[in-house]
Point group: D2
Chain length 398, copies 4
């Protein structure tokens, strides 16, 4: 099929040219005397992205699922009580992982479209006078439903009842895209992955770990070797690894961290918000509904969009792929057939998102949905134009 694929799934995301260039390298000796000099600055820059000074960030040669497992197995023991909430495919899977690892899981099933139920967490934690609950789990951005939760709120809930449980946050589809403040929010275990905001191929799982979480290792009885923090701590100190790391990805990471920090994290977040809002304007112009039930839940990295009754979202996605080489996110689990997703995270600019909006519009019209041609693109581009103008105006004022 001529022309490029238009990739708008919520990860893996589009890789910037300079990152792609940086990964076009031969293999190298990960025990060379100068290897550590290459690695150590990566850890420092990762900490900036996680917004932690006190914590440590680990890099595992795995996906985000592996990083979830690392966070859990290094800090908990079988039978430990944890609370978690499920409101989409990925928050559900994390919950599932906890159960498989023998934890006593208190799960709150939330309607898809909303996020972490702060009231429920508050109630259960307040009741837990003897601090049986060892871990509180929260998914900052549910990739399946396009819902962002209030992590600062979870911290406040813990603080309000002086609860010592560790706070675990799934930031896979948020860190590097949406504001995440590990130290300020008291996040103990923060999980990220290379193929989202870090704009890399899959293959690096990140775990930001607070000093409190590091101390918890001593009691943690879950078995771990591949994901063991101890082995990492010993070798990472000088820039090395306990087993062969994914050096190619490190070269890409060096460049993607440079890109993120050069653009400035706050600018990166503002850009994601602006691109996301342009999608929401298009959705409104199409007179369709987001899965996210209100602005407080809107995700700036992915939008899940309901198709009207009588239509099959799978046909929108399949048609977009087959006819327009556009990769949209599928509706996962209970959203299958009911919603499609536009991933708008990572290396993205105005005309990229416009092509996704135009392609989704074409695919929806192709199956007979009643949408005026160009109406979504028109709403999106007007927003993009005016928001840029506003930025410029505020730039001048500053």
């Amino acid at each position: 099929m001529p022309g490029r694929n238009h990739l708008f799934i919520p990860g893996p995301t589009n890789i910037p040219e300079s990152v792609r260039m940086a990964m076009n390298v031969p293999m190298q000796d990960m025990r060379a005397p100068d290897f550590g000099e290459f690695i150590l600055p990566l850890f420092e820059d990762l900490k900036k992205v996680f917004k932690t000074k006190d914590g440590q960030v680990f890099m595992f040669p795995s996906s985000g699922t592996g990083a979830w497992e690392a966070a859990v197995s290094n800090t908990l023991s079988p039978g430990d009580k944890v609370i978690v909430s499920s409101f989409g495919h990925f928050s559900h899977l994390w919950c599932d992982l906890l159960e498989r690892h023998g934890l006593e899981v208190v799960n709150f099933d939330v309607e898809w479209g909303e996020g972490v139920p702060l009231d429920d967490y508050a109630r259960v934690l307040a009741e837990d006078k003897d601090h049986k609950i060892k871990g509180v789990f929260a998914c900052q951005n549910e990739t399946a439903s396009g819902v962002t939760s209030d992590i600062a709120g979870v911290r406040k809930v813990l603080d309000d009842c002086d609860h010592p449980a560790l706070l675990y946050v799934d930031g896979i589809s948020s860190i590097g895209c949406i504001d995440f403040r590990m130290d300020e929010w008291g996040v103990d275990l923060a999980v990220g992955g290379s193929q989202k905001g870090f704009m890399l191929p899959t293959g690096l799982g990140f775990v930001g770990v607070s000093q409190k979480a590091l101390a918890a290792r001593a009691q943690a009885k879950l078995p771990r070797t591949f994901f063991d923090f101890d082995d990492m701590i010993k070798t990472n100190a000088t820039g090395y690894f306990p087993y062969t790391p994914a050096t190619t990805l490190f070269h890409g990471l060096k460049e993607s961290l440079r890109l993120l920090l050069d653009e400035g994290l706050e600018n990166v977040f503002a850009r994601h918000n602006r691109i996301a809002e342009s999608v929401r304007r298009a959705v409104a112009a199409w007179e369709l509904d987001l899965v996210a039930r209100g602005p407080e839940w809107y995700s700036d990295t992915v939008s899940a969009i309901y198709v009207p009754d009588g239509f099959d979202a799978t046909e929108v996605i399949g048609g977009a792929y087959k006819n327009y080489n556009l990769s949209l996110g599928t509706g996962l689990a209970r959203l299958q057939g009911k919603a499609f997703r536009i991933g708008h995270l990572g290396d993205m600019n105005e005309l990229m998102i416009v092509s996704a909006i135009a392609g989704a519009e074409m695919a929806m019209r192709d199956i007979g949905m009643n949408i005026d041609p160009g109406v979504g693109v028109g709403a999106a581009t007007e927003y993009l134009r005016s928001s840029r103008a506003a930025n410029l105006a505020s730039d001048k004022a500053a």
Copy 2:
């Protein structure tokens, strides 16, 4: 600037991923025993793209300008009379080259927006009873104005008066995009370049040469060494070159030829027509004028679009680049400030052209042009949708 650059100049064009991949190679010995086996099929496939069985295609490590010079210097002598027509920046430059090389040039200045003046050619050739005119020059596709000329018509003019002059065609921005029939149209010297329909970086100039043109070498007195056909003929026979060739580009060419022939040339032409027509639908929806003065001149590889009086096309182009990372073609020479161009040739699909249309629309609105948001994209996408549907219908019927 985050996100990709959107490249819609009429060359260099976007490089397909597989072509880019194919060029990521180390250097190699161009005198190796097996080098010829790699090269010979390239010549065969190039002939298919030029639609010649009788002729020979040369590859010079140069740009298209060099290929122009090769065509001229191998077949003409100082003082030879030639006819040519100028109706844009590039047809003008070819005319200029002829004058610099000491030829007696009869040039027809044509209003930009039209192409080769067949009547003028017919008149002058008919009058040339003693065949003083040795060469007839025609630009198939004027990249500056987005005008395509009728090469079969030029051949007919020559045939009608039994004129033996050689027919030189600039096919740089047409071959591999728009139908070109070297043998059927009796083209003697057909000039192409790697960075247009061949979807490669700049660096290969192609010249398709008829047997008649090859025979003309004996009398041709213009000096030539780098561009000499003789040296090429001797070495090309076994797949080698008289001096170091651009081997990296050959690896890309192998893949781009595969892509063109696998898609099928007629399908490639139809795709270019469909993409181009979607741009024209957007232009109509914007209520703007093409530089090309009528459908008979419309180019399927590039559209030059006038902005209304009182507006500066340079600002559209500059704003598109600065604000939306969109590279549009500038208005060259007398079109500067009056028109901008959208290149729609090479590796292109529906959502790529849609992003160019949307970006041009945004840039035009940014300078205050009165265009309804989304109207161009709406017209373009509707055309793209309906024309695809038609294709599908005819596919089924077949």
Copy 3:
């Protein structure tokens, strides 16, 4: 430093140009309708390399250490008794993993330089009348000492006493380089990694699993999510994965599998043997000793070479890297300072290994070791020449 790095560590290995080219791709949707068609043949070809028809091969986005863990956690329960032998850094680490995962480990410490102690295994297994031993672990190729063990022999030991324990083989630095016969040898869990014989970057851990081992999952109580076979089985069936896979590496794997199968596995093994023997000839000419204590233990993928008393192998390695851009393998654990290693696996030919031998020779002379200049290269090249001639002769005879 000008010129290329000469990489002769026993993994990551040199990446063939065509594999590197194949991985130079943009990201793609791992849930696209045609993704499965891309993946399914990879599983089939992997089975050919593992020499299994009955088993299944899994690909985890991890290193080989992760694949070890996958093999263990899917088939064993805490407290299960296993036997293992340690005779180098990596066999020791696998043993360590078993202990960390709560297994009852019977470990045989073997002098470094020898491999799996068949007699000890035979004795213990014969004594284990009530089949308390659930797993028998063997490292086919100890990368730290350059020792290859007899896996067929381990199978025979098990068969001789009709013991039903599962047979686990670490084939990370052997599969794709040295003969490995999963079905014929009755290997139940065969572990491989992308960065050795598969000539890829680190990032894929392979586990070949027999039907018997698959059946063992039902009883296995070790926790697992990231490394769970069940999730893989369900999704792999149609060419998909339970979480985001490393698609870039799959493109490289497709090409590296093609290379291995086109060359022919037996030819790949013979090439590794021939390259390895040339190193051993050099070592003999240098009058040095291999760590491997005899031909029955010689590894065809890596040679660990003792330096004489009074010299520090670390200086050889450091000097080679600093002065000649040559990456040799360091002496790990108890071999530190006593031995250096030459990795000679993967994409390797005659003149590549010659540069390693010459560089090692230079680095040894630089620290005052008494070696005649060129003697190692002379012995190696003569062997390479004569063994090639022999091949040619046998080719003719055939």
Copy 4:
């Protein structure tokens, strides 16, 4: 064939990884507003490599042959008298170009193995009292015979008789490898190519032009368009080009210039000399003769080596390629069958040249030449070791 190709032809040369990486880019608009900022520093750095402050360096999208033609056609007129000397395939070809372009050529045929005949030049120039001779041509490094000529000597000859002729130097296989001083030596036209010391693919022809040579354009009547300096001067001033340039190569050039200047030109020259000398030590150990007839002619970029009577150098080259994947330079023209060449220019280090020496040795032994195994490598490595030690000692002293 497994493993890498070992490339030791005298161009194209091995491309450094960082240069290769830099060229892995998409196409871009060569008329973009910020394109000039990218280009202008390239011209400045090129001038440093040519060692000119007063002159200007042009970059043509061509090979070195094209750059020869540019130098000639911009500064001379048909019938102009020039002197030149031929002592190898490439100096002969330049002479041939001069004749084809209608110049009155006085050529000195020199025995291959020696270079520019200063005495002959001195005699003829002294006799040319009325300055009929407009150009003096000298090949600094004859790639076919491995002979370097004394360009400072040619300048002295001109100065001694106050002759105003322009001095043309072919520096294709010397600039960036061997000392070249455009201003100090009063070189008026200095020709270079991308695929030699600049470590790039073929595709850029460089011409360094003195102010005197620029002034000569006014009288020069040879036709030129593609190679016209005027068009370049006008557009280069702001960093643009008269026709589509080879942007991909510019990205590589930026990096290769950085590498050359970071290493330091004098260090680059010393490195080439050291690598070359190691080859000469091997040749001496083999008891063979260089084509170059004495140290004053020895080239530091390429060594042409005679095989003894009764042996065919073509078989050495063919065997090296077929059996060891080693690309040696063939014997060109009258050296065919009599000599083979080892190119040792560009991105080269100790163990790279060692593999070439070892491979040549193997190929020579394969055809029955009487050479002790390892003797060439031994001599070369001892020289490389001792010369490095010397460098270190002098480094300490400094």
